[in-house]
Amino acid sequence: MGELLGNSLSNSAEGAQARGILPLLPAGAFYALFFGVPMLSLLVISLWRAQGFELIPDFTLANYQKIIESSLYRGVLLRTVGVGLAAAAIVVPVAFTLAYVMRFVFERRGQLILQLVLLSLFSGYLVRIYAWRTILGKQGLLNSALQSIGIIDQPLDFLIYSNVAVVITLVGLLLPLAVLPLFSAMQNVPRNLLEAARDLGAGRFYVLRTVLVPLVMPGVRTAFAFAFLLAAGDYVTPSLVGGTQSVMIGNIIADQFRGTGTNWPLGAAMAFIVVGVTVLLYLAITQLMRWVTRW
């Protein structure tokens, strides 16, 4: 009897569906409550006003207006996007080449190289940024080395506390993340596809352009997403190696929430503008990539 009773629930289609949702619930609820709701409330707050230390619920686009109208903020936003694009422009081709080499030149040892590359990710985020300060500083390793070899007489001061420093550091941080989707995409391309193209008479780069790249485009897009979005959104790197020259939007946002001049609505609006702008730019660029590679 019990087995029949148990049946009506457990063997029915509805029962199976209900049970299927169960494992999704804990993480799902967590996401909804601690990601969805806070992001939504941040959006709501971006529409409020701040008076002194008080938050006044409102519905105004004043904050957004202020940011868009201010040349200072626009400048910072522009620099943020610029740095992000520069980092992505370096990271994606290097990651592509690395993935290609790992997959097609080294094959089996390629996996090992991938592990090594990924391991660098786990050696301390803050620490690596700080170390670049040591390397790029005026009395840092790079300058000392170049000076002792005799290539330069004076330390290169654009290497630290500058946009250049931020880009150099970001590239080191984001390269491993960009390699992953590219390597994974290339894994799915059988070697004999490329060989067939060569056999038919195509030169090396022609094969790359017309066979490999189209096949791994989704991986390229993901790599670009990681590199660009994470570079533009990074806050610690410009703080440590950017100096005053390379203040990025992240610094300004952070200041609204933890400095003396706290203006949460403004900070929130900035945050959404940054996210909005970077996402839109990402979509625009990937659409451009789609058009170009159609040929």
């Binding site: 029949l4 148990g6 009506s8 029915s12």
Partner: protein, 359 residues
């Protein structure tokens, strides 16, 4: 009447708007080896999964030894399934795999060990008890899967294309082994396959399935000799289908006008009308070849040899008869030096031809 081992009553299965099984009614007797034969998509695996409990029918019932088990959970059915790729538990040894069902039934260790030994001997894998599944070859893995399914002495064993992943020689060997084990145990086996030779070799009866229905259910010889439809005659073994229509029906004789000429059958078959579209099915090996042309008619036709295929132990020859092809299969010696382009006469015994209705 003895209770059937398996009885399927008015079974239907729909997946959304797609009908996978349409009015399945059949019975399997105790101790029988029955094959469900058909191409992929015909519904044979679905039927098996319904009998084993992993799918529920949209309509109809499944009875096992008289007990209605349609609503029973799979773990509570007296059936066991041998999966297509073995589905051995990778983290258990061969012995532990075979003994799993027994452990669930609460047997003591000594008893489990004894039964596992018995099973290993049955499938002739005595020395491999302590291996892990990944160390086994394909054939060994399937034998372990079989042993595991038999260990709990199920009343009905269901096998879902268990040999399809094996290479030809191994498959042929396993076919005979499986049949021998089934006979020795006196168990009821329901065997799903798409390979008609396999079905013919192993089964007591074959159910040929097409688009969710059973087209014919009978002994291998019945199905081969007297296919009930064009689909069956075409699916099992090769055959010639001389298509045409009935020109005359009289007592004891049927005359047809076909693509290879006027033919007749010395039989009376019920329900035939002049003008009805039919096909005459004659197996290539049932056709006799004689050199030279002669008068056509009845069960004789004349044509020219267009193709000869050498198959080692036999020859296959294609003759063109009035524009249509007729295949003949015979031993090399029987062809008596007939070559390409020769005129030949093809004839067959009346009882070797089957009249099939079109559509």
């Amino acid at each position: 009447m003895a209770t059937h081992a398996v009885e399927v009553v008015e079974l239907r299965k729909r997946f959304g708007s797609m009908t996978a099984l349409d009015q399945i009614d059949f019975q399997i007797a105790d101790g029988e080896f029955v094959s469900l034969l058909g191409a992929s998509g015909c519904g044979k695996s679905t039927l098996l999964r319904i009998i084993s409990g992993f799918e529920r029918p949209s309509e109809g019932r499944v009875l096992i030894y008289g007990e209605d088990l349609t609503d029973r959970l799979p773990e509570r059915r007296p059936t066991n399934l041998v999966f297509q790729r073995g589905a051995l538990f990778p983290h258990m040894t061969v012995r532990e795999n075979i003994g799993y069902g027994l452990k669930l039934r609460g047997w003591e260790r000594a008893r489990i060990n004894a039964r596992v030994d018995e099973m290993l001997a049955l499938v002739r894998l005595d020395a491999l008890g302590d291996r892990n599944p990944e160390q086994l070859s394909g054939g060994q893995a399937q034998r372990v899967a079989l042993a595991r399914a038999l260990a709990t002495e199920p009343r009905v064993l269901l096998l879902d294309e268990p040999l399809s992943a094996l290479d030809l020689k191994l498959r042929q060997q396993m076919q005979l082994e499986l049949r021998a084990i089934q006979k020795r145990l006196g168990a009821t086996f329901v065997f799903v396959t798409h390979d008609q030779t396999e079905a013919l070799v192993m089964s007591d009866r074959i159910a040929i399935m097409n688009a969710g229905r059973i087209e014919q259910y009978g002994t291998p010889r019945d199905i081969y000799r007297h296919p009930s439809s064009i689909f069956v005659s075409d699916f099992v073994g090769a055959t010639n289908l001389f298509r045409g229509s009935i020109s005359q029906v009289s007592d004891g004789e049927v005359t047809l006008q076909t693509e290879v000429g006027t033919l007749s059958l010395n039989r009376s078959e019920p329900g035939l009308q002049p003008g009805q579209r039919v096909a005459l099915s004659v197996r290539p090996e049932a056709i006799r070849l004689a050199p030279g042309a002669s008068e056509a008619g009845g069960n004789r036709i004349t044509g020219t040899i267009a193709e000869i295929v050498y198959q080692g132990s036999s020859l296959r020859l294609r003759a063109v008869v009035q524009g249509a092809s007729a295949w003949v299969e015979c031993r090399d010696e029987e062809a008596g030096g007939i070559g390409l382009g020769d005129a030949v006469t093809l004839s067959w015994a009346d009882g070797s031809a089957t009249l099939l209705r079109e559509g």
